[in-house]
Assembly symmetry: C2
């Protein structure tokens, strides 16, 4: 039986739809009163584990799940030892530098040296500021990063932006994009190479279903 | 104006009640549809910041909040540079080692060397196993640690336990307690020493209100 690590949160619905398209039904995990952390598909060919988005690569890296779906942002931040198989197209967002609207900064280069930057993506933020050769102090937070500039704790933030609503509501402006992120299909490298439980076939079907869904979306967008 | 960092989650209600007892009303943060991350008390003497429990010591350490309420578990795990002022008595829980009911292990010492232990409290778990001189591999997770033994990823977990319901539901047994935790009052060391905005007075009142609440609870428990 194949085990699949599925991310709690914003990527879950699309992830479950993708698996449904290749014949694995994990939709029980979407029920409002669901408290299950694992579910076996009715065909008994696959098991779904519902884990925190950040933990998906951990389960896959340790081989407890052969495949998983996770945001590119998590892969960039954590650098797990997993095989990165496909861009699934959904869950688009970007990691951006933002500052208070009234800060007067027009680019990240304008930030004063040694200023504070609050972020949950500490590694990505550090790499970015090293690349632009600006020494800043990264303040590691676990959430609600937008409070940083509001309270005066930090001059800037590095945070994931999808619609931009949170930034607007908190009077913040994006200055620069570190990278764009979408949902990715990952696999345990050894399981993938050894083709455990016909894994390659499942992966091919997932890739095909994902491309079909993307083209359908593009066509409907054109019409 | 004093700024107070309040923890989202299980400690929030009791924290807000404690501040209410000393005259600061932050209860707007408890409203079901609340989306505010900060609130000014009606007396305009204090501002409450609603942040992730783990971020409370960050806001206090950086001086953005003069005081905060946070679980002892977070202080033990993160070792932030904050003044630890009082045990507030509520939010009791413990950090425990647990294994599957059918594992056969009767104590943490029975665990096989180099086995895997899943935890969100990586530092505390590492210190514990070093102290009992057992070399284990700590698997860092961000949540739903109970999946570790269920999926076979880890032999044991180190996790916070309050009622024990989660352990029972997942067929897990506690082997040992690393430490007990309750909500603590913390302060920014320098603000505390300089008595910014009459901070000492507020802290004295909070301590008194907390002791009063504890004794009332003990009396009612006796009756």
């Amino acid at each position: 039986m194949i085990t699949v690590a599925l991310p709690k949160g914003s990527l879950l619905k699309d992830s479950i739809e993708l698996f449904k398209a290749v014949g694995f039904d994990f939709s029980g995990l979407l029920a409002k009163d669901n408290r299950q952390l694992q579910i076996v598909d009715s065909s008994a060919q696959a098991r779904g584990l519902l884990v925190r988005a950040k933990d998906v690569p951990v389960y896959v890296e340790y081989g407890q799940a052969q495949i998983g779906i996770v945001g590119y942002d998590v892969l960039r931040e954590k650098q797990p030892k997993v095989a990165h198989l496909a861009d699934l197209g959904f869950g688009g967002c970007r990691l951006s530098v933002a500052v208070a609207n009234d800060s007067g900064y027009l680019s990240a280069m304008d930030l004063p040296p040694h200023c504070r930057v609050a972020s949950t993506s500490v590694n990505s933020a550090r790499q970015y500021f090293q690349a632009i050769d600006l020494a800043v102090e990264i303040v590691p937070l676990s959430g609600s990063v937008e409070l940083g500039p509001i309270t005066g704790m930090s001059e800037a933030i590095v945070d994931l932006v999808s619609t931009g609503t949170t930034l607007r509501q908190n009077n913040l402006t994006e200055l620069d994009v570190l990278y764009y992120s979408t949902a990715r299909l990952i696999a345990h490298p050894l399981s993938y190479r050894l083709n455990d439980d016909g894994l390659s076939d499942v992966i091919q079907r997932l890739k095909a279903a994902s491309s079909a869904a993307s083209s359908a979306q593009k066509t409907s967008a054109r019409v």
